[in-house]
């Protein structure tokens, strides 16, 4: 779809504005969206937290640009990946799942690593704790097999089976 304002460039930003109860939709290119955004007191590239808040909680009435559907969006809080990259903050914990396809490079740039290796919640993290133990035991098991220490390997395998059956046997282990 082409921009409804200039007709030259592809539309990437959708505006919805309600004036006196009637709804106008505008499909704009980046350039025109920026102009319109300034008129409406919001700019796609750098709106304030307040206008974002307003926008998230009440999209329709605020004239906030809604990004084109191809961008990732969190269904729980409504934040899009573009908005996330502008404000640098997630809106809710489900955003992590919603933006998952694009998080690895970002986290690697910030932290070097992408995977948590630290504390697990003491009460609710029982299952995860067991899975981590199983992982560690598997590493040891491979090591013993390579070194042909089969007796030790057998005992490790028993431990792994025991942990696995605890996990499989009771679906409510986390409680």
């Amino acid at each position: 779809m082409d921009c409804s304002e200039c007709g030259n460039r592809p539309a990437t930003v959708y505006f919805t504005k309600i004036t006196n109860g009637s709804k106008t939709e505008m499909h704009l290119c980046e350039v025109c969206a920026k102009e319109k955004g300034e008129l409406l007191g919001t700019t796609p590239n750098g709106f304030s937290i307040n206008s974002l808040l307003a926008g998230i909680l009440n999209f329709e009435s605020q004239g906030i640009p809604v990004s084109a559907p191809q961008t990732l969006r969190c269904n729980t809080c409504g934040l899009t990946f573009n908005q996330f990259s502008q404000i640098g903050r997630f809106g809710c914990s489900d955003c992590y799942q919603a933006f998952e396809p694009r998080l690895d490079p970002l986290l690697r740039r910030i932290h070097g690593g992408t995977t948590h290796t630290g504390k697990i919640p003491a009460r609710s993290g029982g299952v995860i704790q067991k899975r981590r133990e199983i992982d560690q035991l598997r590493h040891q098991l491979n090591d013993r097999i390579q070194k042909e220490k089969f007796e030790e390997a057998a005992s490790l395998r028993d431990q792994i089976r025991a942990l696995e059956s605890e996990l499989g046997g009771s679906p409510n282990v986390s409680e």
Binding site: F90, G91, H111
Partner: protein, 354 residues
Amino acid sequence: MSVSDFLKHTTATWMKEDGPESDIVISTRIRVARNLSASPFPVLATENMAQEVLSKVTNAVMSDEFAALGKFEVLKIGEIGNIDREALVEKHLISRNLVEDSRVGAVAMRSDEVVSIMINEEDHLRIQVLYPGFQLEDGWNLATAVDDALEQRLEYAFDEKRGYLTACPTNVGTGIRASVMMHLPGLVHTNQIGRILSAISQVGLVVRGIYGEGSDAIGNLFQISNQLTLGQSEADIIENLAVVAGQIIAHERTARKQLVMENRDSIEDRVCRSFGILANARKIDSKETMQRLSDVRLGIDLGMIQGVSANILKELMVITRPGFLQKYAGVELAPQERDWRRASLIRERLQIDR
């Protein structure tokens, strides 16, 4: 009220007591970010959602499991007067962000002010432990115990792969920010601080001035913290910071010895001159106060100034800030008035030791 009574009533543990390596490490702080699942982060929360988070956390803090950790009180930011709020920020018990940007912000404070749990800051929870001196491991042990006690009653936003989920991607994973506040006049006066600071930033740590930035930090006070929160365990993060801070302590001690050996007379002149100004000035601004306090504290540590408590640096760096000055005065003060009040408060504090 006299200054000594005032100090007795208002100071936090980190300001009153000494800890390991107290001649160089002023305080150790551990902050841990946590969020509740099934509730948007504070930036997107409505008033009602934020209220709900506050009441869930309040219930957890007031629960039986929590009682073993000490006596806590939940203070709503909106119900604290301006000056008292400012004083909490100046004591480093809450962040400025909590005062200025939070909706339904609150803090659960332990009576000794070692533990403070900020509620509805950037994350639902920021657990803080603030100890005097160099106590990273003890700090983490207490913070993780508080965390476990909260988790007894609260459902945390936790993901097996990403760890504790936070509003800002720079905190995700462990959510831990460990830091030490160090007084480094030796490294500053021997012009080694720039080299040390750039070395620190290459090992995954961040340094900033407590007042003022970079090597121009006013009062020679620096805060060193971990930068990364994802991929390393809490123990590794603490250990890395402890090792680097330990090296800085050793360098600072060497630099102080070098100063005394090579420039004893001019250092002695400098610290005694600063003491004279603090003990006699009638009007002083906060920048000069911090510079003179750093000199006097160095003089005390080097044995050049006697009969003055080493604690004056910690006490006066806090109680000469605007919020505390006004709390002590009992009225709001215009900026020019504060400089006169500050000088008189410092003179009075120095007389306690004489």
